[in-house]
């Protein structure tokens, strides 16, 4: 077991966990934050995407010990007081959610894009979401939603 301290959705967090756990194991099984999904387990599908110090990462590939001292944002950290943030609201309004399995990863990849580039082109959005697979193939609405939530 190891103990790690990190910042989770803006709050300090300390937890003990087995050394062979990934960040995804920690979030889902250690902290019961089940918004982050287990998809392929190989870093391909993107549904386990979280932000680590603001950058999108695959939580299924990152060993939990790598979170030490860093800031993690999961889908549970979006929005305030139960209200969706601008991006989540755009997803809901645009119909960008079908089965919902890819949505947490889509939201966090899009959040990272908009933080770095508040006025992305459609091409920028496609590039940013390239590693997030929507099993329902509902990409058109997802891209529309991200563009709608952008400052442009």
């Amino acid at each position: 077991m190891i103990a790690i301290d990190f910042t989770l959705n803006g709050r300090p967090c300390r937890i003990e966990l087995p050394v062979h756990w990934t960040a995804l194991d920690l979030l889902r099984d250690g902290l019961a934050l089940n918004g982050t999904k287990y998809g392929c387990g190989e870093g391909v599908c993107g549904t386990c995407t979280v932000l680590l110090d603001g950058e999108p990462v695959r939580s299924c590939l990152v060993l939990a010990s790598r979170l030490r001292g860093r800031a993690v944002v999961t889908v549970e950290g979006l929005g305030h007081d139960g209200e969706p943030d601008r991006l989540q609201a755009a997803f809901a309004r645009t119909g960008a959610v079908q089965c919902g399995f890819c949505t947490p990863g889509m939201l966090l990849s899009a959040r990272a894009l908009l933080a770095a580039n508040p006025m992305p082109t459609e091409h920028d959005v496609r590039e940013a979401l390239a590693g997030n697979l929507c099993r329902c193939t509902g990409y058109t609405k997802i891209i529309e939603a991200v563009l709608a939530a952008s400052a442009g």
Partner: protein
């Protein structure tokens, strides 16, 4: 699905890391970003008893210019490399190739050192580094040695890094002034995939507008990333006419030693090398 349990060492210096590697028994692996190793472990293809993570070694995450060369620490992420101002302005080919690896959430985690040690034949950064005659630094308990990138890839997923050694960084020499360069990758399945083949090229014209300097390197064209030396020789000293470019593309296709796999047959890879070397040189000709 959990990973099979392993012990984890997190040394805080290269000396400590090589010391740990030297005394470990069982199957120990060095882990950098983990984007290649973790899926390989999940699939059960490797089952290390111990991982030695390099992430707490401060000197390994750095990009700096030193006497005109670019020094890159092994743990530098591909995303950091792709967006770094000095890399983008001085070594745009490297920034471009690093920025084409997989997807944003992989590039944020994957490291240059890990990419090289994994030795994927279709690596995106490797052909760029081959074009620059990069020096690879490798440390063990005795000290550090330098391996020219041309001798680094020794076989299919094999490198010159021996058991107990750690790749600590690379040194990328300055680019000839006025050089043009580019990297293209052909992805028949999806844009974020590793390429079927990739081509990097760097060229500089001399005073007579002939090709003074030309470097062409290929990914996915052999069991290892490779320089296309015969293609370079057909172009050097020539004007970049259509027929010279076709000659270079034919030479690159001929000197490639592609493998067949689920992505494509050897003969298809050879044809695509011909096509993409030609396209890249055409685009570099037009500036």
């Amino acid at each position: 699905m959990r990973l099979r349990p392993f012990a984890l060492a997190e040394p805080e210096s290269v000396a400590e890391a090589v010391e740990i590697l030297a005394r470990l028994d069982g199957d120990a692996r060095v882990i950098a970003g983990g984007t290649a190793l973790v899926p390989t472990m999940r699939l059960g293809l490797v089952t290390p008893d111990r991982l030695v993570s390099l992430h707490r070694i401060p000197g390994l995450v750095q990009i700096r210019e030193d006497k005109g060369a670019l020094e890159i620490g092994a743990m530098t992420s591909l995303a950091a490399l792709a967006r770094h101002d000095a890399v983008r302005s001085g070594w745009p080919l490297l920034a471009q190739a690093a920025g084409r690896v997989a997807t944003p959430a992989i590039r944020s985690t994957a490291t240059l050192g890990g990419n090289l040690c994994y030795a994927e034949a279709a690596s995106d950064p490797a052909p760029a580094l081959l074009c620059f005659d990069t020096q690879v630094r490798v440390a063990d308990s005795v000290g550090e040695r330098v391996v020219p990138i041309g001798e680094f890839f020794t076989g299919f997923y094999e490198t010159a890094v021996a058991q107990g050694e750690i790749l600590t960084g690379v040194s990328v020499p300055a680019v000839p002034s006025g050089a043009r360069s580019g990297y293209v990758k052909f992805c028949p399945r999806s844009a974020e995939d590793k390429p079927l083949i990739g081509v990097a090229a760097l060229l500089a014209l001399d005073a007579a507008k002939r090709i003074g300097e030309i470097r062409i390197a290929l990914g996915g064209a052999a069991p290892t990333p490779m320089r296309a030396r015969r293609a370079e020789a057909t172009v050097k000293g020539q004007e970049l006419t259509d027929s010279v470019i076709r000659g270079a593309a034919d030479a690159a296709a001929a000197e490639a030693e592609p493998l067949s796999d689920l992505m494509g047959s050897a003969s298809y890879r050879r044809e695509m090398i011909r096509v993409w070397v030609r396209r890249l040189l055409l685009s570099l000709r037009s500036g």
